[in-house]
């Protein structure tokens, strides 16, 4: 009998050991990184980011520069995949208590982060460290501020702008140095481009909810109520009430119906490729693709402000991109280290290098006063378009953008409605009503789930 008990014990024991080893897999890496910190007397912190490719290399360089600049803190940068992957992994990490010390999060994840309860607002660090809040342009910090408090530090910042093909403009008999400034002009120019045979397609915009939000901000209108969620939680959308949503939907429909525009779907890269290959005269896209656009196109790329639907003194562009968040790891030493790293990323030198390597803005205006940056802009005048456009944008709650916990979903709902509009299955009025209805349901559900 004893013998059998032994066998049973061995069997059970081995099964448990194997399964425990399987569970321990993910914890292993964090153990080893904390070993590093004790051995070298350095504080070791982890930094999660979503920058791949060229931008990923620039991020790694920024981290290496920081590590080399001092000998107290060692930052370990870990690439987590796309923004969506990062937020998914962070959710899991919050539950298991394995959070990074600093995490990059995209603009629409802001509300989720604020509501999560696992973060430290960066503004809490300003007073104790004597950091000057005005280091970063306030039109940028306003996106990441809730009720006047700055929650995270902008990192990679972009806005949409107009890209156009200068060669096509010349062939079509248009002035290659004056891009259209209104959508009316966009329509006229498109007609001329197509009819002169300079390019098969005049203008195109990817089906992307971000553009809708930008066009609303351009009209000086709110997306959500309570001043875009800046004066209180968004409880319903407002674009269906203030008429701006309909104006924008009508625009999308008119552009498509003109016959001079083409739809390349919801994958923004497909619209970009069509433009880079000379098939399309003009597109609107993020400033973040500027470097890529110049490198990928065989023609001369021109840039202009995001076209306007109507003149409006309150209208402007919303900043997009991502920011750096300090996670509440309950460890003051690590939190201090995390803040020092975040502070470093806002220095003029770090920002100048980051901007030149990626095409994102330098969030610190002083970066544009550095010699390297001055010389760079001299050679690449397109980089100034984005800067000027942002500086001319008024700082208000229209251009701060909507702060909502369901904005990722709202954009997807938008993506599903626009093709119906293009196909003529629904009118612009129905489209706006349907979008508002679905987004309102999502908001209601979100607010209930977070107990508001």
């Amino acid at each position: 009998m004893k013998k059998y008990k032994k066998i049973l014990a061995v069997l059970l024991g081995s099964a448990m050991a194997v399964s425990m080893a399987a569970c321990g897999g993910s914890g292993g890496s964090s153990d080893s990184s904390s070993d590093d910190s004790s051995s070298g007397d350095k504080v070791s912190i982890t930094f999660w980011h979503a920058m791949g490719g060229v931008n990923g290399e620039a991020t790694q360089k920024l981290v290496d520069d920081f590590n080399a600049s001092q000998d107290e803190i060692e930052v370990h940068a870990e690439y987590q995949g796309t923004y969506d992957d990062t937020i998914t992994k962070l959710k899991a990490a919050m539950q298991s208590g394995n959070m990074p010390d600093v995490c990059q999060m995209y603009d629409v994840g802001t509300k989720f982060m604020v509501d999560s309860g696992y973060i430290v607002p960066v503004e809490d660090m300003f007073e104790t460290t004597g950091y000057d809040k005005s280091t970063v342009m306030d039109v940028i910090t306003s996106y990441y501020s809730v009720e006047g408090k700055q929650y995270s530090m902008p990192f990679n910042v972009s806005t949409p702008m107009l890209y156009y093909n200068k060669d096509v403009f010349e062939k079509a008999g248009l002035d290659p140095d004056t891009p259209p400034t209104t959508y009316e002009e966009v329509m006229e120019y498109s007609k001329q481009i197509v009819e002169s045979g300079a390019a098969p397609v005049g203008y195109s915009q990817a089906i992307y909810g971000w553009f809708f939000e930008q066009q609303l901000a351009g009209l000086g209108a709110y997306y959500g109520n309570n001043e875009n969620g800046r004066a209180g939680d968004v409880t319903a959308v407002e674009f269906d009430q203030n008429g701006a949503g309909l104006k924008v939907f009508q625009l999308w429909k008119d552009l498509m119906d003109s016959g001079y525009c083409e739809n390349y779907g919801t994958t923004t890269a497909d619209t970009q490729t069509a433009f880079f290959s000379g098939q399309v005269g003009m597109i609107i896209e993020s400033t973040a693709i500027l470097k890529n656009a110049i490198d990928s196109s065989s023609f001369e790329v021109g840039t202009g402000y995001l076209p306007k639907l109507e003149e409006n003194p309150d209208g402007g562009v919303i900043i997009g991109g991502a920011s750096l968040w300090m996670m509440d790891t309950q460890d003051d030493v690590k939190k201090d280290a995390a803040w020092k790293f975040i502070e470093y990323t806002t220095t003029p030198e770090a920002q100048a290098a980051w901007s030149m390597e990626t095409g994102y803005f330098a969030i610190n205006p002083a970066a544009y006063e550095t010699e390297d940056m001055k010389a760079y802009i001299e050679e690449n005048p397109n980089f100034t378009t984005a800067i000027d456009q942002l500086q001319e944008s008024p700082v208000n709650n229209y251009t701060a953008g909507v702060l909502s916990g369901v904005q990722t979903e709202s954009r997807l709902i938008f993506n599903e409605i626009i093709p119906e509009l293009y196909d003529g299955n629904i009118t612009p009025e129905e489209g706006v009503a349907s979008l508002a209805d679905q987004v309102n349901k999502a908001i209601e559900n979100y607010n209930a789930s977070v107990g508001k």
Binding site: M1, L8, L11, K91, Q95, F112, D115, E416, Y446, S449
Partner: protein, 288 residues
Amino acid sequence: MNQRHKIFKTIEPYLYLVPALVFFALFVFWPFGKTLRLSFAMTTPLGEVAKYVGIDNYIQIFSDKEFLKSLLISFEFAAMMVVFSMVIGFVLAIVSNEKIRGKSLFRTVYALPMAISAAAASVVFMFIFHSSLGILNKTLGTTIGWLTDPKWALISVTIVSVWMNIGMNYIYLTAALQGVPQELYESAAMEGAGFFQKHKNVTIPCISPTLFFLLIINVINALQAYAQFKMMTQGGPSNSTNVIVYEIYQEAFINSRFGVACAESIVLFVILIILTALQFKLEKKVTY
């Protein structure tokens, strides 16, 4: 002692199952139980239970037109997938099983798509399908938005999926064809059977176990397809390619409604169980 020995004899077989059971419990039963529990809850954006809502999630998904539509799209996709990949795989297997030159070359070529990852294939086909730059429209002289037109998107994704799936069908069917006894073909030939008669009366009955196995595998594969939809259409345009697995992914990881997503997973699970049971029943009846 003898009595004890008897008791041990009865429990002994179960002891051997313990290690496997521990694994199943940990990686299958426990997650399944959690899915079932979450399907009755409203969840926070973090995926924790906010409150239990009974069968509300089920009521919600069954009264949601989008969910029912996504079920329908999944079945449409599965039907097209199964028919085309099995028929094409079968034809290719028969053809390359004949005594022809360069047989092994054909075999390699036909089986090759199996070695390509769904993501890589999707990227290549996205270039092919691009409405202004793609080779497909250039060749046909058309301007169809293969992936951007709701009428075409599901067909386009199906074409890619069938292409990826042919390799597996081809390999299994080729192996099965080689197991068909030559004597049967010889006697069929003696009785004057032609090419089609030979395959209808000899080949298909002989390889029917493989055909049934493939039917089950193909249906399950098709209903679980995800990568090509994520890469090529993200469920769009206008939800025309929003298959159930993508719908579940979207609810859970983009919209953070884990409760609803879990309810949808349970529905998919029930559907797969029923289909598999049906197919096993049929198989017993039809197989030689």
